[in-house]
Symmetry: C2
Subunit: 429 residues, 2 copies
């Protein structure tokens, strides 16, 4: 009999409980042993209602309990969650967690400790909720050299971007709608600033490249500066949709990681990923492009991943082999080199808000030319509000160095023909 | 050091060799031990060229060799491949295979033998080539009650159907084009009759429902009777695309399995799956709908799966734990009940080829009405060739029992107003 303790009985934790109770027969047949939720822990005693386990509001009752085989950490946050994971490993417990922030920021400490104690840390729910992408990178695609991963990894921001365009509303309106419908938290900054996506990208990249890839290695830009007008311009004039992507690519044996709103074309698999859905595209040298798609948020999809992790662990514990082989490939001695975003290349979308006078385009394109930014197409939009006497000039660039574009904008934005900061978005092919 | 023997050095086998040689450093770092291809076996000695292993044309040199840890069976076909797998298990070898036919038709014997000998059989490449769907069903989604799996599982037929519509050509022309381009075999009947899809569906279902689900349990219809005119009618008039799907669904605790050309709508994820690509949609009670997409055919994608299987096995062998836990959940005592296609329900497309006279529609709809087949929409097409004086009447039904539709057609096709056999296709929502 395998005994587990669940710490954190919120959205995910309570769904994990429900799942294990409702699918108990199927689970125990598949793992070949009995599974018992011995303890549940939460600071809120109301979470205990109608549940068949010993309730505690002290995590130590679980972590230091010799009856417990697996600690399921689902409290979120950082400090206490980290303590629970570290203390559990030290006390010879296996771990299942959905906590991307703690993993991403403490990869080194956690996986060294897991290896030293021959214990396993499973974390399928930390990226893409129920989509089994962690396992795929760890095992199913393990033989490939992977030179590209791109994903819509955050349900909140994808929900907001979808609603902005489909309901013709501003970022602020879409955000408050998302908060009202439970798709965004009251403090949404981790999501909308791209940090959550970066945590997830860091996990995917760390697995893929067998060493810790930190947030510091990722260029991060959120969606909070995205304007509806840009979304409409790119859709109507060029057939592009704005999506927040997390991307890692290998260029000449160096890694470039970025989280940013990107323009994707109508033929991209990301276009049809709407609302709270997630999708991850992995490109391997042998498997080619593989796409994984599903619900990236919500209690039940996350519980699906957590419970599947528990099952896989339970089978190994029952067979007496859990921890003999580490789950993730982690080799701290492996050297990784990174490219900064200064060295990024791509096609870019630029929107200049200018005075509505002759000669403006010539000035702008002159500065771009001087910086070797060649222009693929130009589009001039009548001012939306004529009394401002401004015009929007939109340019798509050829494949150019991002630094050249940024240098150009720095000069252009100082010109007195420019009425507000120039908007820059990358096109992801 | 883990030693393997590859039996069959054709398209997949030679790519497995190439992969292991080219990605050796990555592979050995991830498995934490050395991996050697000790033997290669093929009836064709030319396959030996430039390869660093001991060549043999006798599979027994590998299967009965005490140095070999893993036998990689890639010869295809049935009888000899089965013998190799069975003899290898008896001789305490682990197996990696891509052979869907042998697995599907000998599930019972193979997995009983594997369990009794504490050996593992891995077969990720048998379905969807490089797409890690076997592992996902086995592990990543294991906690879910799964009531629906649908997939485009055969690259050849999907290539043919894609080309028929995009190049406006008949089935026969598309088939010979596929053969010319290496996407169909010279004897294509396993593919075009739906047998290959059924083998793969049987594997997915057997894993999901923890017992052997045979071809006998699957209603199978190929694409060889598909006419271009039907593909064009459904696309232009109703926005449907014809795809060969393998589907298993759970209805009141019974399983209904079918392989057949289906009409899928423009909002279906299957519409954009073109040419040799595969896609599999899995619906679990907790994870919701998860879609897996990638190249479903070709040497390299299959080699990606085979090599990843070898790696996972090698790690377990090196840690001394391989075979302690069976890979697939197989419980021969688990009772499964099936629904026959007679008990199928759905929306259907019917095309009647009739004489071009008044009163014809009334006769047809009268018979359908008597059988409780209610009509959702009707569309009458001018005869393509006026000299035949025939007309095509196309009907889409409401949600009805398939048996009622078939009973109606049986009666209608005997009427002298009917000029050729009525075409029936299911609409998959």
């Amino acid at each position: 009999m395998i005994k587990i303790g669940i710490i954190g009985l919120g959205t995910v934790g309570s769904k994990v409980y429900d799942l294990i109770i409702s699918n108990k027969k199927l689970i125990e047949r598949k793992i070949g042993t009995e599974l018992e939720i011995l303890y549940g822990c939460d600071i809120d005693r109301n979470k205990f209602k109608n549940k068949k386990f010993i309730f505690t509001n002290n995590w130590k009752d679980i972590v230091y309990n010799s009856d417990i085989d697996i600690v399921v950490e689902l409290i979120g946050g950082k400090d206490l969650a980290k303590t629970i994971i570290i203390e559990s490993l030290k006390n010879k417990k296996h771990i299942v967690t959905a906590n991307k922030a703690v993993l991403s920021e403490n990869w080194d400490e956690i996986f060294n400790l897991a290896r030293d104690n021959k214990k396993l840390v499973y974390f399928e729910a930390s990226v893409g909720a129920g989509i089994p992408i962690i396992q795929a990178l760890n095992e199913g695609l393990a033989a490939n050299k992977i030179d590209y991963i791109a994903g819509i990894l955050n349900g909140t921001t994808n929900y907001i971007l979808t609603k902005m365009l489909s309901e013709n509303i501003s970022f602020d309106k879409a955000l408050s709608q998302a908060q009202k419908n439970g798709f965004a938290e009251m403090n949404p900054s981790l999501d909308i600033k791209g940090i959550d996506t970066a945590h997830k990208l860091s996990i995917l990249a760390s697995i893929t490249y067998s060493n810790w890839i930190k947030l510091d290695n990722i260029y991060i830009e959120g969606i909070d500066k995205i304007e509806l007008s840009d979304m409409k311009y790119v859709k109507e004039e060029f057939g592009y949709t704005v999506k927040l992507l997390g991307i890692v690519r290998k260029i000449n044996n160096k890694l470039l990681l970025e989280v940013r709103p990107c323009l994707v074309s109508d033929s991209s698999p990301f276009v049809s990923v709407r609302n709270e859905f997630n999708a991850i595209l992995v490109k391997g040298d042998k498997c080619g492009e593989i796409l994984f798609y599903g619900k990236g948020a919500g209690g039940s999809p996350a519980a699906s991943a957590v419970a599947s992790d528990i099952m896989f662990l339970a089978r190994q514990i029952a067979a007496g082999v859990a921890g003999n082989i580490p789950y993730v490939s982690y080799d701290p001695d492996k050297k990784l080199s990174f490219l900064s975003n200064e060295e990024n290349f791509g096609n870019y979308y630029l929107r200049f808000t200018t005075v509505d006078k002759p000669g403006v385009l010539s000035k702008i394109s002159g500065i771009l030319g001087k910086n070797n930014v060649s222009i693929a197409s130009v589009y001039q939009k009548e001012p939306l509000n004529k009394k401002f006497k401004t015009a929007d000039i939109i340019l798509l660039t050829h494949y150019v160095k991002e630094k050249s574009v940024i240098d150009s904008i720095r000069v252009i934005d100082k010109l007195d023909i420019i009425k507000s900061n120039t908007k820059l978005l990358k096109i992801e092919q």
